[in-house]
Symmetry: C2
């Protein structure tokens, strides 16, 4: 840990970008011990979008504070989840790693604090499979299914593979020696399972940090490639501008407003401020006041957001 | 295949000790091809009982006819099924192998036709696990659960491990290159699953041969160690005599009569005849006639059965 920040300050900084921490007390105690091994699992995806930035933010802050962090490129998980053939997913994971390296670099994180691990590098090994079977002897099918339902709803005729998926994700945390698991709120049940069962297999009980799920630009479901409602990390300036201006953005409203969520969950964490309508907001609550009162119109918000996002994406893309 | 028997004769001999063959036509066609690889999976058990002889009978006949047969000592399966720790189960499997060798030897089967394979020798390998995952992507949790319900009813809070158990048993058939799967009728759903899904993974569709489930000596559930209603393969003469004379045996009845089932399913297949009440029955139907009519009393049946079983068990034990 860098000498300049205290465990409490790190915890506070991460709380500000999370929706919950299970539990804050445990988190502070792990931070104090100095023996942190944090991780996030990322299923290989053809194009990463803003949701990834939000989910990775706590991990980036931990790495920046000097703690050891792991990005798990979950190629075997993606394969089990029918995202493609394994060799193909390994290639996609490689490209994702290159992009995530840029994300991390653009935040000034030191290389030695970040490790990229491929699921396929250990999840088919005898040692791992045996542990997976030990876990499978404890967890009921119903628990595994419920955990998966939060992650992937499409599997109506729910396959055994999706239960194995949930168990593997749970086991990864123990197997990789993780004591701080980071993920979107959709990973909650998996993490709760991990907190309950890993101890029974002799692993540590991990702290779980959950980030919000970013709404799609249409204000509907979450941001995703398949719904074509996302801003991708490799989008160009005009693309970003077009998407922001077309986005659902009810004037003065905070709830169910994807652009407000992006201001709060991407712009403020990345830049520390937001500039719109000729005004610099150093604090999210000041911004909210102007938005609610109508001082800040949707047009001005969109202009400011386009500029801010393009600044962030350029910073990543050129890192 | 030995030159002295035709495929049709082998099929007929095996039909006589099975309750069903899926399908007889496919079976004859595999026999005619000469490329037979038959198997039975046996969960390591502290003491093997008469039920094992009945389930193994088709495999013994195939081996005797010169075909390649595999006894799979399913230690990993036993472990997943909570029968003990893995190292312990490997030891039990070793003792089971020694006993099964005697069974096979006592029937005059040539060594080179019989192979003993341990599940742990390949079921944790990367190649196998990948195939298992491929299968897990196809089979629904509900199918896997129903297949397991026939094998093991105790698992009320049904675990993911029991679904993996079913999938592994299904995959073993393809992975070991089996084209004739042998097992008790309780394996039916697993075998039907194998016939449906293995082709989708590029394996052959196996023939399935099912043997009857031998009733417990109390006339209740199936013969099992835990219910203390079984004759074990290492029982001594007095033990056998005591058990047979205490057994449930309604005079003149065929249904739900464990001793009649043993005469039909153990004595006739092993000895080719049954001697009781001073008479030698060369045919099961002649025996049935005398039993039904009351010519053969329960006392005489029990005397004859004790002698016959002791003969068979001595033959095995001293092989």
């Amino acid at each position: 840990m860098s000498a300049s920040v205290t465990p409490e300050e790190v915890a506070r900084s991460i709380s500000s970008v999370a929706v919950e921490i299970l539990t804050v007390e445990e988190f502070i105690s792990v931070l104090k011990s100095g023996r942190v091994q944090a991780y996030i699992g990322i299923e290989p995806s053809n194009i990463l979008h803003l949701g990834t930035l939000v989910a990775c933010e706590p991990l980036i802050r931990l790495a920046k504070a000097g703690f050891k962090t792991i990005f798990l490129l979950a190629d075997i998980h993606g394969w089990l989840n029918d995202k493609g053939e394994l060799e193909q997913l390994k290639e996609i994971a490689k490209r994702n790693q290159e992009f995530l390296s840029k994300v991390v670099k653009s935040r000034g994180v030191e290389d030695l604090n970040v490790e990229f691990v491929y699921g396929s590098s250990y999840q088919l090994s005898e040692g791992y499979v045996k542990e997976l079977m030990r876990l499978a002897k404890l967890v009921t099918a119903s628990e595994a299914r419920k955990a998966m339902d939060m992650i992937s709803k499409k599997d109506v005729m729910h396959k055994v593979g999706s239960e194995i998926y949930a168990l593997m994700q749970c086991l990864d945390i123990g197997y990789l020696g993780i004591n701080v698991a980071v993920g979107g709120l959709d990973q909650r049940r998996i993490h709760v399972m991990a907190r309950e069962y890993l101890r029974k297999l002799g692993y540590a009980k991990p702290v779980a940090i959950h980030t919000p799920i970013i709404l799609g630009l249409d204000g509907g479901a979450k941001m995703s490639k398949s719904l074509d409602n996302a801003i991708f990390l490799d989008d160009g300036e005009e693309e970003v501008s077009r998407k922001v201006f077309q986005a659902f953005c009810p004037e003065g409203e905070l709830d169910n407003n994807p652009l407000i969520m992006i201001v709060e969950r991407v712009v403020f964490p990345w830049l520390g401020h937001f500039e719109a309508g000729g005004k610099i907001y150093n604090d999210y609550s000041d911004f909210v006041q102007d938005w609610r009162s109508g001082v800040l119109t949707a047009k001005k918000l969109k202009e400011g957001l386009t500029e801010a996002l393009n600044g962030i994406l350029r910073r990543i893309q050129t890192s």
